[in-house]
């Protein structure tokens, strides 16, 4: 498989960022009329989180765990234009306390990835994506909710350099993410130090930036990465309160990614760890996937 969406669970706290779990963030493309279907399992957990800037534990949550199973087809329209989709089923639980776990189908995502420019080993890519909630899950029972129940649109610019002989590569990208308002079951809620008398919740927009360094060879790939995902604004978790959709969540993560796919069937794996954050859990996450590639003859 050539194209992979990794990165389930950026693993920010609180399930919501799991909504962005399926971002195409590599410079690898499927060939024309090639389809790759990935089945992925992801596990993310934290036992400490940043309540505003205060790093704390919570004995009434213990360890919060978010798991998901995701199907993710990627298709090559041409070798420079790929379409990628994903649909996860997500479930949450805690090791302590009495908050009821939530489960269900989350949001469907679609991405269009275009290799816009190639100069030697250097390439420039434009990626646009969007997601729409599919399941009717509750968005504001955080940290148990499985998603944020908002539509998203993301634009990403990615630059890549690959050394032709060794397969050594360096990728860097930055994105802007728009998120629609979400709707609560309640018709009043508190945010920004005031009460809003409406069921509409303004969910902050986001940006992200990442660098990845790795080696890509025929049949295998290994990579280390660092990434920052953050809201552009938002409020903070109040002292000893639960997180909320309006929070300014920020996280800096590091991790490793690897893939082994000698022929049509392959496997991949990813691990990530949040090293610093704001209004998010300090997650440790891993993803394992099975990849299956099909070629359609024209």
């Amino acid at each position: 498989m050539k194209a992979i969406l990794k990165q389930l669970h950026i693993a920010l706290l609180l399930a919501p960022f799991a909504a962005q779990a399926q971002m195409p963030n590599d410079a690898i493309y499927m060939g024309k009329n090639q389809l790759c279907v990935a089945g992925m399992y992801s596990h993310s957990s934290w036992n400490q989180y940043w309540e505003n800037t205060l790093k704390r534990e919570n004995f009434n949550i213990g360890t919060q765990t978010t798991q998901s199973a995701m199907i993710m087809p990627a298709f090559g329209i041409s070798k420079r234009v790929n379409v990628i989709m994903s649909l996860p089923y997500v479930w949450t639980s805690t090791s302590a306390g009495n908050l009821m776990g939530q489960k269900g189908i989350q949001d469907v995502s679609a991405w269009l990835k275009v290799k816009a420019l190639i100069v030697g080993g250097f390439s420039l890519h434009a990626i646009v994506g969007g997601s729409i909630p599919v399941g009717d899950y509750v968005p504001d029972f955080m940290p148990m909710s499985i998603g944020m129940q908002c539509r998203t649109a993301t634009g990403r610019l990615m630059a890549n350099y690959k050394h032709p002989k060794t397969g050594l590569y360096l990728t860097a990208y930055g994105s802007y993410g728009w998120r629609s308002n979400a709707k609560s079951d309640r018709d009043a809620y508190q945010a920004d130090d005031r009460v809003y008398n409406t069921n509409q919740i303004r969910v902050p927009n986001t940006y992200d930036a990442a660098v990845r360094l790795g080696i890509l060879r025929r049949g295998w790939q290994t990579e280390v990465w660092a990434e920052r995902v953050a809201c552009l604004n938002g409020d903070n978790i109040r002292r000893n309160d639960m997180p909320f959709l309006t929070n300014n969540m920020q996280a800096t993560s590091v991790g490793w990614y690897g893939k082994f796919q000698p022929h049509t069937i392959g496997v991949n794996a990813r691990v990530g760890y949040v090293v610093d954050g704001l209004n998010v859990g300090q997650s440790t996450s891993y993803t394992v996937g099975v990849l299956y590639q099909i070629s359609f003859k024209k």
């Binding site: 009495n98 634009g155 079951d185 009043a188 809003y196």
Partner: protein, 515 residues
């Protein structure tokens, strides 16, 4: 060539994206409330029965200057000068406060209740520090504005507003000084003007009385409340609705009445409501009556129960003998078939809660960070009174009847909860989708608050009685769907609340309003 086409596609994506984002509005629509001239000015309200004042003349208001006096004419001239150069912020303030004085201060009180409704965090040594009124902005903030605290804050607010307005109405019709817009045709008031005499200003009365109560209830918000008070007062000048002496007299009256109301609050027993030493006797009593497992805090570390002695706080619409008489009968024994049936229902919901059950549980959750069920019902009442275009004094009467009933409900419910000390479903392995309150189960507080509120509001707004009853039933059932109450907790609480509310209704029928 190929390279070029990809570059064009790339540019197209960027352009499409930026265009798309610009058209995706993130505005939030909140209800906009407009000013109205009341359907009735309730000119006899100066004779209505007050709660704390013994007579509307307990506080004296001096006679105003005549509208022909030089002093008055100077005040009118000053109004015209202000109106000539209003900033947009001043116009916004006029619009905001124009929605109603009682209405806005009730809304402010709800907002403060929500902002202070967070249980203290535990310390590293496993203790829960008690909020300190002398140091309100330290961690934990004072107050922890939980449902009983909020019920009480809103009750005193509404009572102070009502008593002060009854007194104001007395003086308004005693002195009969007409509004400036009616003495000088060149004044163009920005809000609807009724036939109500303008001295003392009802807005200033409400603003001052409200600020006194709320500063006492939320001592960390003095600067915020002073700013609101000043803006409200000044907005009446900017709007051309009151002259300076209307406002000065109104503020003095509001302050004086609120001070009398606060004198009651200081000795109503709230200072002993969190007396944790009483719980040993309560637990012993419940066990002696045959309860096998008493309520135990489900938090880690175990949190002391919320306000165990709140049941001893002074009630409004009935006495302590009646409080005991109204107390619900005992809940089912833990080894009874009734209990098993109720617990099985919860286990079933725990396994397969429907989305609609979750929606109802969430809508009425009114938990931490919210203005609690009493705040929820105050909002319902304030909106209904606004829709009905009530005068300020009638709006205050409505909220005082509701507010005192809600505080009575809190007291009676807390009395029952700690008398029976009944365990929560979470002590039998049930989770929750709304968060678990830290006090005994029987009977349901939401149900008691909602039963009392629906009874009071149905009496005041008979056309909407069915809506209020439906809402109370749904609020009551929501606690079963949220998995924190047995069905008998909710059913009992609702009836208890109805009974409590009926005492406020009895008062309403006899308060001289004829309403």
């Amino acid at each position: 060539m190929k390279k070029q086409s990809h570059f064009i596609a790339f540019c197209a994506i960027i352009i499409a994206l930026s265009a798309g984002l610009n058209s995706c509005s993130k505005t939030i629509d909140e209800p906009q409330l407009s000013a109205y001239a009341p359907t009735s000015v309730d000119e006899k309200a100066g004779t209505w029965k007050t709660y704390v004042l013994t007579a509307p003349t307990d506080v004296t208001v001096a006679a105003p200057a005549a509208i022909s006096s030089a002093d008055y004419l100077a005040e009118v001239a000053s109004l015209k000068q202000k109106a000539a150069s209003l900033s947009s912020a001043q116009q916004d303030a006029v619009t905001y406060w124009g929605a109603g004085a009682v209405f806005r201060w009730n809304e402010i009180a709800r907002e403060l209740s929500a902002r202070y409704n967070i249980p203290p965090a535990s310390t590293p040594d496993g203790k829960y520090p008690v909020p300190d009124a002398a140091n309100p902005l330290a961690d934990p903030k004072f107050p922890f504005s939980n449902p009983p605290y909020t019920a009480r804050a809103l009750a005193y607010l509404s009572v102070a507003q009502y008593d002060a307005l009854v007194s104001a109405w007395h003086y308004k019709y005693l002195y009969n000084r007409v509004a400036p817009g009616k003495t000088d045709a060149t004044i163009k008031p920005l809000l609807p003007v009724s036939s109500l005499p303008s001295y003392p200003s009802e807005d200033a009365v409400v603003a001052a009385a409200s600020a006194v109560i709320l500063k006492a209830m939320f001592p960390g918000e003095v600067a915020y409340l002073d700013a609101k008070l000043a803006e409200h007062r000044d907005s009446r000048l900017w709007a051309g609705m009151n002259v300076e002496s209307d406002l000065t007299a109104g503020v003095a009256l509001g302050n004086a009445v609120a001070a009398k109301v606060m004198a009651r609050a200081k000795v109503d027993g709230m200072s002993a409501a969190n007396n944790q030493t009483v719980t040993a006797g309560m637990i012993q009593g419940a066990k002696e009556r045959g309860l096998a497992d008493v309520w135990v805090s489900q938090e880690t570390p175990a949190r002391p129960p919320m306000l165990p002695n709140y049941g001893a706080v002074q009630t409004w619409n009935f006495d302590k003998t009646t409080l005991i008489k109204l107390r619900p009968g005992p809940p089912p024994a833990l080894n009874s078939p009734e209990f098993t049936t109720a617990l099985d229902e919860l286990k079933q919901i725990n396994k397969s809660q429907t989305r609609d059950q979750a929606r109802i549980a969430n809508y009425w959750s009114d938990g931490a960070g919210s203005y609690t069920p009493p705040g929820h019902w105050h909002r319902t009442a304030a909106n209904a009174a606004h829709d009905a275009q009530y005068s300020e004094v009638r709006m205050a009467r409505t909220l005082a009847l509701l507010g005192t009933a809600e505080m009575d409900a809190a007291i009676a419910c807390w009395d029952a909860k700690y008398y029976y000390y009944y365990p929560r479903p979470q002590q039998f392995g049930v989770k929750t989708s709304v968060g678990l309150p830290n006090f005994p189960s029987y009977a349901s507080g939401h149900s008691t608050f909602s039963g009392a509120a629906a009874t009071v509001l149905s009496s005041i707004f008979p056309d909407k009685a069915k809506d209020f009853d439906d809402e109370a039933n749904e609020a009551s059932t929501s606690r079963i769907y949220g998995l924190i109450h047995y069905r008998f907790d909710s059913a009992t609480g609702l009836v208890h609340g109805n009974n409590i509310g009926s005492y406020a209704v009895t008062r309403a029928k006899a308060d001289g309003s004829g309403l």
